[in-house]
């Protein structure tokens, strides 16, 4: 039965429709595969009983011709999405044991379309990290290794458990969230497809908040078409999130397979910093060549404020985080460390409950918002954010979609890059500007490095134009014929 895990979502839907196998069989195959890949630490909580129940219900719905978009498809859910009655930790000690009494809107939408939950995927604590090494529940291993080297590599972060699960075929797809690159960078490190849609496309209701003006949910899958199917199921307006976009969600799958003749593909000149891996540079050139061959025109664009994006992000995101994470005080949920006064209880609880990186970001955020420093740091960063967003508006006068690398290097080893926080932050140099501007960004695998690791490229689109992104990605995917089953 193990070959049931080597299917795309689209293929599995076809197989289920024809009656070749049932969702219960498909789900069992994945639960078996999960039990064999515990070493990856991709899941914090596995929910096999619930998965089989959901699969059995799905088979009944299909039998009565009521199949949804993801009917019977087993998925991993990043442990940042609240799932009713199932522990939701955000990768933090402070939320250990928390069982939400409600369901996030995105997961509600997935279950409505028939999806099956395999479990909750590991992540960097409160989604703060680019390596999955900050999770209280242990690092996740990348299913890929350098050829001839047994060293364990990081899956990227923060959606590292999601990316590792999909790459290792212990989930057909997974939800991720992306604040500064947390879907795209792990997708690149693990050789899968991941899209952060336009800010507002998916409801943030029930997603543990990190930086509310940046957080977006998105799908992580093995193919572009699967990502289009899954995003369609996740997205939509939600009255419970006033920043979610009103209006209908397009059928993204229709974009997959369309011609890109005459499409203008922009190459930002500022995205070629010193020290960019020559392999990534070569992959980028190859990507552009494929697009030209398919009839697209390549144009140079300029995003002059790119070099300030990281610093802007590391003011805005910690500021919002310090405010959002104020709710973890030991009173209403999660960990409580007793103290003699209310203040002492708060301080002890938060000192013990938050890990090092989270504490660091809360302190920075508190400082940049504090009296006397607000204008110098936070207001300044918000103005830079305007300039960065304007850069993209200008660029999209000349181009319809932009192509860039996703990350400056392939996956690195567990334990590397930990000494200096800023070195770690540089991982997100290509993904953060898109996040600040709220634009859709998709990462897809285009090839392997000389030592056998996946390399990803990023496509950036205009606001709410995921269709052009999907259309372009599908063309590249076909040209790349990436070995997507290699890590299964």
């Amino acid at each position: 039965m193990s070959d049931l895990t080597h299917l795309t979502i689209a293929e599995a839907e076809a197989g289920l429709d024809k009656g070749n196998f049932t969702s219960v069989e498909l789900t069992k195959a994945h639960l078996d595969a999960m039990s064999k890949r515990k070493d990856l630490n991709a899941y914090i909580t596995e929910t096999p009983d619930q998965a089989l129940r959901m699969a059995a219900d799905s088979d009944k719905r299909r039998a009565s011709k009521q199949a949804g978009l993801l009917e019977g498809i087993p998925l991993a859910i990043k442990d940042l999405f609240c799932t009713e009655g199932v522990q939701t930790t955000a990768g933090s000690h402070i939320l250990e044991g928390f069982k939400p009494p409600y369901e996030s809107t995105v997961t509600t939408n997935l279950w409505k379309q028939g999806a099956v939950m395999l479990g909750k995927a590991n992540l960097d604590e409160f989604a703060m990290g680019s390596s999955n090494m900050t999770s209280h529940y242990g690092a996740v291993k990348n299913p890929w290794k350098r050829s001839g080297d047994a060293k364990d590599l990081v899956p990227g972060g923060s959606s590292g458990g999601s990316a590792a699960a999909v790459a290792a075929c212990i989930a057909m797809g997974a939800t991720g969230t992306d604040t500064g690159g947390s879907i795209r960078q792990p997708a690149a490190f693990c050789g899968i497809v991941g899209i952060k849609p336009t800010y507002g496309r998916c409801s943030r209701f029930g997603i543990v908040a990190f930086a509310s003006s940046l957080d977006q949910a998105g799908p992580m899958t093995r193919t572009v078409k699967d990502a289009a199917i899954m995003l369609k199921a996740m997205a939509g307006h939600d009255p419970k999130d006033s920043t979610s976009t009103p209006g209908p969600t397009p059928d993204f799958t229709k974009a997959v397979g369309q011609s890109i003749k005459g499409l203008r593909v922009g190459v930002p000149v500022e995205y070629k910093p010193d020290g960019l891996s020559s392999e990534i540079m070569a992959a980028w050139d190859k990507g552009l060549a494929w697009l030209k061959e398919a009839g697209a025109e390549v144009v140079e664009v300029s995003l002059p404020h790119t070099k300030y994006a990281l610093a802007t992000y590391y003011i805005v995101a910690p500021a919002e985080a310090s405010s959002n994470l104020a709710r973890y005080d030991g009173v209403r949920f999660g960990l409580r460390v007793p103290g003699n006064s209310l203040d002492e209880m708060y301080m002890k609880t938060r000192a013990e409950g938050f890990g090092r990186e989270v504490r660091r970001r809360i302190l920075i955020g508190t400082y940049v918002l504090s009296a006397g420093y607000y204008d110098a740091y936070y207001a300044k960063a918000q103005k830079l954010r305007t300039l960065i967003a304007n850069d993209f508006k200008q660029a999209f006068q000349k181009a319809d979609v932009l192509l860039t690398p996703t990350a400056p290097t392939p996956a690195f080893a567990i334990g590397e890059n930990l000494d200096d926080p800023i070195t770690m932050y540089l991982n997100d140099v290509f993904t953060i500007p898109t996040s600040l501007a709220g634009l859709p960004g998709l990462s897809l695998p285009v090839g392997l490095s000389a030592d056998g690791l996946p390399l990803g490229l990023q496509l950036i689109g205009r606001p709410f134009d995921e269709e052009t992104v999907f259309k372009t990605a599908a063309v590249m995917e076909q040209a790349a014929s990436f070995k997507r089953w290699e890590a299964c």
């Binding site: 507002g200 920043t243 610093a311 009173v331 302190l363 508190t366 300044k380 103005k383």
Partner: protein
């Protein structure tokens, strides 16, 4: 801006995170490093640039009638409380 131990202590109190005395010095160094790095933004002239408060700011926020749309389940709200009693969360004594 370089942070000294007293400032770190003050921020930590504002954030209600206990920091041990021996952690203050290394933390001050770490945070100062990050602040020095973000201060590169000062070299950009932002006079007259409006601050971007939200991606969706260009879109008017929707209005709705000011009515109760949810609630009425105190038991569910209390379910995850570390200490609760008679429909309330319990905290250490606040008023002497």
């Amino acid at each position: 801006m370089s942070l000294d131990k007293a400032t770190v202590q003050k921020i930590a109190y504002l954030a209600r995170i206990e920091v041990r005395e021996d952690e203050l010095e290394p933390l001050a160094k770490e945070l100062s490093g990050i602040l020095h790095w973000v201060e590169q933004l000062a070299e950009v002239d932002t006079d007259g640039v409006p601050p971007m408060t939200s991606v969706s700011a260009e879109m008017a926020l929707p209005m709705r009638a000011d009515v109760v749309t949810d609630g009425g389940y105190a038991d569910k709200v209390l379910l995850n409380g570390p200490e609760t009693t008679n429909g309330f969360f319990l905290v250490p004594k606040v008023v002497e």
